[in-house]
Symmetry: C2
Subunit: 678 residues, 2 copies
């Protein structure tokens, strides 16, 4: 078996590139080809997947993982580890192979169940399924954009907690991205932001294989990527990606460039090692097939049997990561001890942050709000009140902070030279904003939030969904939540957005009706551990209507009886956000006419649907005529309402009250619509 | 009144730039300031809007509209006009002023009702509200990206129909964009695509005012934009945007660069003319206020009263567009006549295309499909069958044409040097793809389509919504439509997407259950004039189930009884797409157990909800227990179903049949769930 060690260099006819660097040792070659072999076998066994990417990117991954990456396989959560993001998530077998080989809790049997039901090796990486996977990737562009958030978090924590002689937070954020990642707009936004922010500890390897699914990138992607990234303010370098030592040198160089993020453009051959499919899209998204598997293994010096073969020498080499990692973490523990001795307060605060413990001080600071103001302004009051108690809550707006009111006035802006600032100016980049906020939250010790107009959830929907899928409790603040925003008109007025986001699994959308519901909603958002929360807030003023006990507010049940009927209800009004106020007036009008009317405030479907059946039925009983009132699409409301006062067309440009009246959101019309149900 | 003509040059203290170019004539200055005055007054009267952009961009707009733009104000639909897109749609008063001044059907009274209910001057431009507005803008980045599609259409039509000596199709696509436009990822995708495609007749002016809503772009946007666009392959030039003659020269130069799109980076002062707000974000998104209005008018030499003042000399100058435009169209008519004489067949075909007349040949070619194949493959059979009959139907995929099967095999790829190709390789750029497809459709004579995986509707949602809002019948083909796609797992499995898109006003989402429904869906899509259609297709094979009369298929009613119960139905199964097949088997099993069961196929909620109440009630009567079966979120189904077999969590990575079974999509489970309703 070990004889293949002696045949690492194979040459093909027809100008096929040599299989390994001339200076590589046999052991390096063996290790690189071991990664390839596992990827080949797992994809073939699953009869599904992407072998080409791992085969081409194995050398760069080997260089990064064995020569640079700071990590402890036995403690994937060690806080000061380097973060590694496989943005090209379709190459999942690359990271699964690396995790297995370097000693993470991922067995060969796990690799053998690649892409099977309930396995820990799903088709694309998922952070909550596999130890060592930092985030879910697959939707292109998300990885690199989320990594920008991780690098922001590192810079923020370093600037906030490090002290002279105590570099407690000091790690890199690495990643591998593909052509597809760099074609997606979200990565352009994120790269521009990262360049502006001079995130020097962000280093990405670009697997430049010139192949995408439909063929050569010549048909679509002929831009000068290096020049583009230089325009963003990145350090760039071209290397031969098949020469792992060249990659190694490029990473070393990039680590020394501390004032700019780095893109290493590594020219690779997709499907390297496959005699008939390498360098073509045929190796991208389908198994090689049994014959080509054998030919590839022969070319790479891998035994045909057993499959999933790992040579002991390669295994030993990779497993060095376990000792090295343990030593690194131990050294860090000692350094942290010294830091804690010198700066006990900071160390305690950081430790709590790392543990995800927000403490109680913020809860005590949570304000009741009894003013007739927009819920976006109430949100501001909340954030201002709790900011000092939450030193690692960081975020901002997509160039709308003057409208979303998400500024923390006790802190500076997060900018080069001012990385301890908690306020992030994301620019007009909603998509990168939410991706980065996810990265900030995933990093740990920090909690990320982003804000914009509600209509622009459309611009960042893939990152919103990924937060939900990753069980990442990012906080999202979206204001100007309906036709009630007025004159900006239909391009800016959300209609279907409430429905479309309520339908998203594991997203808690909350549309509060007043200041106190807004404060209670912020509480829910901050306490959430596995669910992102979206606060949907009004542009226009809303009167105070609900309990001022914001630490124990009925909003927590999702929907609740705000005003009970004077007798057994003949009709129920159920409303959310800005429509609760007029519904309350309509309920009073109906009562005045002798119609017992219940008013239910329903800020969160997500929370309501987690209540007991008994509670749900008692709040919104089936037999009573029920009118929903919400300035958005009626879509979905049939579940709870007999009829809906809603907006089932695009909006219109007019002053807020005119637009609302045009669509029937008046006290009189609510009452009439309710009476029509009797 | 006319004396202000003599005071065009005003200087401010504090290094304020001079108000006009030293070489500008008084008349030019007057015209430019007239645009500014109308914008100032309209925003002030509405007490809402964005005055700063029109005030800063007036010189470049003046240069473009009076020295270059080929258009006929009295016939905004003249086919060979230059297209003009105000990508920075918040500066809507710029285009409204220009349209009014150059003689379009937009009166001073229209300007006075800016942002009011049912006015023709909504807050952001809307193509179907205002003659001369090519598309709705406001959501940033959409304008420039859609304009790329218009330029594609022009190149395609020119390559297809022009003959030696007969340049019948020969116009530019111009636009003005802002910082925000260029920060949005969609514009990066579109610019990279436009550079690759070498769209030389696309010319954008970048209103580089260094100000966004939250302040100076120094806080967010410090990249080298020119260098980035050069990396994409664009011609770029920097000019002083306040010097309209410099802009004029830059446009002239850009028109001569025919092998690359052009970006003219015009440095401007936002709110130019406002002594206290120019150059700051204070002039961006709010009225200047009465005092500053007066000060600005004084500075610009505009009389304070009457408001909305248009000097007759300026009016005369702008109105030259009417004569010039009429002459240009007349000359084109003559040229078209000569072309028609020489090439009668091509001329007739082009004329039909311009009129939006698809003819009948494609209908006759529409195939019946009786094979057990995936609906994505059925879609391919349809497209292949009708391609020759629809010579101006162009589109493609976002690097997934091998999976979406939207290639037209009788035609080449649309590439530089091959602009008559009907197949567009959009790259991994879903967002720019749908925006460009919208531009292709809006251009006229061409019909645009795009395709990708259904999950990636999230990536292009703003452009999907804009198609719906603009009443632009773009065709969208999205495949791999559920957990049924299998191993790629939750990042690739749509769950909430059916619900979230059904909720969108004026989008016709059709999820066909077999080949014949797919053919009928394509028919609906092609016949639609004001509604975009989204075809949602399976990855996996589906048996033929429905009528082969695809030209008169019951799918046109949105939902219909596919199999009637043997007696009065005791239970109704309503299903869509890939779930109709198992529901049919379940219905048979129920019937075998003596339970009369109706099966309703419901491919399109949009179409069903446009049927008569009688039809709807007879198809899905309220009183009968109804089970919906769809491999997606249950959200919304309460409207039609008593219970839903659905997927209300993220998916999982497993082979298709395993994933489907895991979520209960088996014949047995459907039958059991139905029986539980009895």
């Amino acid at each position: 078996m070990r004889t293949m060690l002696l045949t690492p260099q194979v040459h093909f006819a027809g100008g096929y590139p040599q299989l390994v660097s001339l200076t590589a040792t046999n052991l390096d070659t063996l290790c690189i080809n071991t990664i390839r072999g596992l990827a080949i076998d797992a994809v073939q066994k699953a009869n599904s997947g992407h072998p080409g990417m791992p085969m081409g990117a194995a050398p760069m991954a080997y260089a990064l993982w064995t020569r640079h990456l700071k990590h402890n396989p036995k403690n994937p959560c060690w806080f000061d580890r380097d973060r590694f993001v496989l943005s090209a998530g379709h190459g999942s077998m690359l990271i699964y192979s690396l995790l297995h080989l370097t000693g993470y809790d991922l067995t060969l049997d796990d690799l053998k169940s690649f892409r099977q039901l309930h396995s820990r090796t799903p088709g694309h990486p998922e952070n909550h399924m596999t130890p060592g996977v930092e985030m879910a990737t697959g939707p292109l562009g998300q990885g690199i954009s989320t990594a920008v958030g991780m690098a922001i978090a590192e810079q923020f924590l370093a600037a906030t907690y490090n002290k002279p002689g105590h570099d407690i937070i000091d790690h890199f954020t690495y990643g591998i991205c593909s052509d597809g990642d760099l074609m997606e707009g979200v990565s352009s936004e994120a790269a521009s932001l990262a360049g502006h922010l001079q995130l020097g500890k962000l280093i990405f390897l670009y697997d430049d294989n010139k192949i995408s699914i439909d063929g050569s990138t010549d048909i679509t992607f002929t831009e000068d990527v290096a020049k583009r990234f230089e325009a963003y303010g990145w350090h760039t370098v071209h290397v031969d990606g098949m020469d792992f030592e060249a990659v190694d040198r490029a990473i070393t160089e990039a680590r020394q460039v501390i004032d700019r993020p780095s893109l290493i453009l590594a020219r690779t051959t997709i499907g390297f090692g496959s005699p008939n499919k390498a360098g073509t899209s045929k190796s991208h998204g389908a198994p090689l097939g049994p014959d080509e598997v054998n030919l590839s293994k022969q070319a790479l010096g891998i035994p045909l049997e057993p499959t999933f073969y790992v040579d002991p020498a390669a295994q030993d080499e990779f497993m060095k990561a376990v000792c090295v990692g343990a030593e690194q973490e131990e050294a860090w523990d000692i350094r942290f001890g010294a830091y804690a001795g010198a700066y006990p307060e900071e160390a305690a605060q950081l430790k709590k942050a790392i543990a995800g413990d927000l403490g109680k001080a913020w809860l005590e600071s949570l304000p009741s709000i009894e003013q007739n103001i927009a819920t976006r302004k109430s949100g501001n009051i909340v954030l201002e009140a709790i900011q000092d108690a939450l030193p690692t809550l960081i975020g901002g707006a997509a160039d709308l902070v003057e409208s979303t009111f998400t500024h923390q006035s006790h802190s500076a802006d997060f900018q080069p030279g001012s990385y301890a600032g908690k306020n992030i100016d994301f620019g007009v980049r909603e998509h990168a904003m939410i991706a980065a906020a996810n990265g900030i939250t995933l990093h740990g010790a920090t909690r990320g939030f982003g804000s914009s107009f509600f209509i622009f959830t459309d611009y960042c929907r893939p990152s919103i969904r990924l937060a939900a899928l990753m069980q990442c409790p990012t906080i999202m603040v979206f204001t100007h939540d309906s036709i009630g925003l007025g004159e900006d008109g239909p391009t800016h007025q959300p209609i279907e957005h409430l429905a479309s986001l309520r339908a998203m699994p594991n997203l808690n959308l909350i549309r509060p009706c007043d200041g106190n519901e807004t404060a209670a909603a912020w509480k829910i958002a901050l306490e959430s551990k596995q669910t992102p929360t979206m606060l949907v807030l009004s542009r226009q003023n809303l009167e105070p209507l609900t309990s001022n006990d914001v630490r124990n507010h009925p909003l927590e049940r999702g929907a609740y009886v705000l005003v009970e009927a004077s007798a057994d209800p003949k009709v129920i009004l159920v409303a959310t956000g800005s429509e609760v106020g007029i519904s309350l007036k309509a309920a009073r009008a109906l009562e005045a006419e002798g119609i017992p009317t219940r008013l239910v405030s329903m800020p969160s479907w997500f929370l309501f649907e987690r209540q007991s059946a008994e509670y749900r039925t008692s709040t919104l009983p089936k037999g009573v005529p029920t009118l929903s009132i919400e300035a958005g699409s009626s879509f979905g409301w049939s579940k709870y309402a007999t009829d809906s006062l809603a907006v089932d067309r695009v909006g219109l440009s007019a002053p807020s009250n005119v637009a609302m009246a045009e669509f029937g959101f008046t006290v009189e019309n609510v009452a009439n619509r309710a009476k029509a149900l009797l």
